[in-house]
């Protein structure tokens, strides 16, 4: 039987507790958001707030916010950002409930319970957000910036951060030269090299050169914008991924392989959005 890394190994100690708590709270957002978005009036009755167009609109808005929090924490794995967003959201919820207490109260008892629950959730969110922030700052894990989700490398960073590697069956010098000459649109290769976001290492077993990119392009719209772009296959990290595939193919084969359904070569946008034409000759548009 093989055992995993033991005490004293150079692997990061995962901040498993806060990560699991963040995931639970992330899923909890949608559990809470579901009645807000699908049955806002019943939700308002349950928390003792009067039903009118204004309170229903606010409830729907908060419900949508809860689903976005789930997407951020679970789908996008931006736990720290998601938790701090939740802390801000809890503050807003408390303010809304206090305002309702004053002007729209239907059942003070229920409203008191709702306020108490928001307070409890706020405490859990704040604890988790602080713990994750400390972890990414290095206080809990190994200082690599890892959130330690059971992995041996740094997974922190913003929503567009991309860590990707390919192996190219050519010597390092040729790969480096080609990297500088390739027409990248996702980044400037010289800048990437200058800031150390690209590494070239010898692949074991005479398999050529490994190209490692660890880069965080600008994220217009923050985590929400990045999530939306990712759903469309248009996020900066997906573009880098596509271009790195094309680069590998071009350097190794001299051409960028094109199929009838992906005439430009690798394209996340085509794959995700299913903007595929049928696998038929492209004709004069090629």
């Amino acid at each position: 039987m093989e055992s995993s890394a033991s005490a004293g190994d150079a692997w990061p100690r995962p901040a498993v507790g806060p990560v699991r708590l963040a995931d639970a709270l992330g899923w909890g957002s949608s559990v809470l958001g579901a009645p807000m978005t699908f049955a806002p009036r019943r939700f308002l009755r349950a928390i003792g707030v009067q039903e009118d167009s204004k309170t229903v609109a606010w409830t729907l808005g908060v419900g949508v916010r809860e689903h976005i929090a789930t997407l951020t924490v679970i789908a996008n794995r931006q736990r720290r950002i998601g938790m701090w967003s939740r802390v801000a959201g809890d503050t807003m919820d408390a303010a809304l409930l206090l305002a309702a207490y004053k002007h729209k109260c239907a059942d003070p008892g229920r409203l008191n319970i709702a306020l108490g629950l928001v307070g409890g959730i706020f405490a859990a969110d704040l604890y988790t957000a602080v713990a994750l922030t400390r972890a990414e700052g290095g206080d809990i894990s190994d200082g690599s910036g890892s959130t330690g989700v059971g992995v041996d490398h740094d997974t922190g960073g913003g929503p567009t951060r991309v860590k990707i590697a390919v192996t190219i069956r050519l010597p390092q010098d040729e790969v480096r030269k080609a990297f500088r000459q390739f027409e990248w649109s996702a980044f400037d290769p010289a800048t990437l090299e200058a800031v150390g976001d690209v590494r070239f290492t010898k692949a074991p077993g005479e398999r050529g050169t490994e190209v490692h990119i660890d880069h965080e392009p600008p994220a217009p719209g923050g985590s929400i914008g990045a999530t939306a772009a990712k759903l469309l296959g248009q996020s900066p990290d997906q573009k880098i991924n596509d271009e790195l595939r094309r680069f590998k193919a071009f350097v190794e084969t001299g051409v960028i392989p094109r199929s009838e359904t992906s005439p430009e070569g690798a394209s996340s946008a085509r794959q995700i959005m299913h903007k595929r034409q049928p696998a038929q000759p492209i004709g004069d548009n090629a």
Binding site: K248, E252, T261, A279, Q280
Partner: protein
């Protein structure tokens, strides 16, 4: 040109589509003289392979005459008669360098899609869904062949007919590789599930590679007759007898040394309850396979034996007998055939008269009759074993 297009579950249509054009310097255009319907095309036809789009041109077994070459193709000339292997392989990447051509790292532009389903991506394949690149297939009058300097093999011996060499494109190497990976030793017993074209070539290859006894398992008499023709020493109709019981008895209780699954994801089981269980789960998309053949192959294989999977599987299966596999030291060998590495040696065997692959052909049809060919092949009517379309 005319081409056989997938038009939804259980339908194909022969349509007019644009002629192919050279897209990269390493492309060639082939005017197709013969193309065949593969058993794995039926998985597309039946709707079990995701990422198909209406209008996709089918077909990955084809041959013909080169009519145009890209600037980077120096080994082929216009007029050459070629057989085209179904995997599209660049010849430059680490996988191709190791002879693992069906795992080419560069030929599948939709590798990202395949990685989501399978972890890593295989090569591009002609006419076999977006998951394997979204390439137009060869059941057409013409096809564009990427990396034509690596894949197609020239057939310079004019005495060989299309039917004798066409199956170098897929089913012959697929059946051959399924046996070769079992490392057959003198005295070995090989059992082959499925007497379709891949199974028939596996049977013939097992004999060529020195197996002492080759047992064919199917439920259609005409296919079992073909298996006998291919060299099978014993036949089992799985609807008449219990395969595990008979195999044990036939092998003195040991079980076969090598068990080859040449059936894949749409297997049948003689017991209606067991068949129904997986049929319902597959229809409800709770599993993607009906894995009767592979389950039985594992359970029947002798201790320390090899289970070789040549039949196509797409995703996830239920009730996989991992306990039998692990506790009895079985070895699993599998993979889409690395056709390129078998082209020359198998062509040599054909030229030497060791095998005439045309024995699998049951029907020749015009390209426009492709829909009829698919129906015949799917429903096993008119003793259909292999349909060759001649555009």
């Amino acid at each position: 040109m005319r081409a056989t297009c997938w038009s939804g579950r259980n339908t194909v249509q022969v349509e007019n589509v644009p002629d192919p054009k050279i897209l990269t310097d390493r492309d060639a255009i082939v005017k197709i003289s013969s193309t065949s319907i593969c058993g794995s095309d039926l998985h597309l036809y039946d709707g079990y392979v995701p990422s198909m789009t209406k209008g996709d041109i089918l077909g990955h077994e084809f041959m013909g005459e080169v009519v145009e070459v890209g600037k980077g193709v120096s080994n082929l000339q216009v007029g050459d008669r070629v057989v085209v292997p179904f995997p599209i392989s660049c010849g430059n990447c680490n996988m191709c360098a190791k002879g693992l051509f069906s795992l080419c790292e560069n030929s599948n532009p939709n590798a990202g899609m395949a990685e989501k389903l399978w972890g890593h991506a295989p090569c591009g394949i002609f006419g076999y869904s977006a998951l394997t690149g979204g390439y137009a297939g060869g059941q057409a009058e013409y096809a564009r062949v990427p990396f034509a300097d690596v894949g197609p093999i020239k057939i310079e011996n004019d005495s060989l007919t299309d039917d004798q060499v066409l199956f170098l494109s897929d089913v012959f190497p697929t059946g051959y590789m399924a046996v070769e990976v079992c490392d057959i030793k003198p005295g070995d017993v090989v059992a082959v599930w499925g007497a379709g074209p891949v199974g028939l070539f596996a049977i013939a290859s097992a004999i060529m590679l020195g197996a002492e006894r080759v047992i064919a398992i199917d439920r259609f008499d005409y296919r079992l007759d073909k298996a006998r023709e291919a060299g099978a020493t014993d036949l089992i109709d799985y609807e008449q007898v219990s395969v595990p019981v008979v195999l044990k008895e036939m092998t003195g209780g040991r079980g076969p040394d090598a068990c080859i699954d040449a059936v894949g994801l749409e297997a049948h089981h003689s017991h209606p309850v067991i068949h129904g269980y997986d049929r319902v789960k597959q229809a409800a998309r709770l599993e993607t396979e009906r894995p009767h053949a592979i389950r039985e192959a594992i359970m029947c294989c002798g201790n320390g034996g090899t289970v070789s999977i040549a039949g196509v599987y797409g995703g996830f299966m239920d009730k996989f007998p991992i306990g039998s596999l692990m506790n009895r030291s079985l070895t699993v060998k599998t993979g889409q055939a690395h056709v390129h590495r078998y082209l020359r040696p198998l062509l040599q065997r054909i030229e030497n008269g060791e095998i005439d692959p045309s024995f699998v052909v049951s029907h020749h049809l015009a390209l426009d009759d492709a829909p009829k060919g698919y129906e015949m092949f799917k429903h096993k009517t008119d003793n259909c074993t292999k349909v060759v379309l001649n555009p």
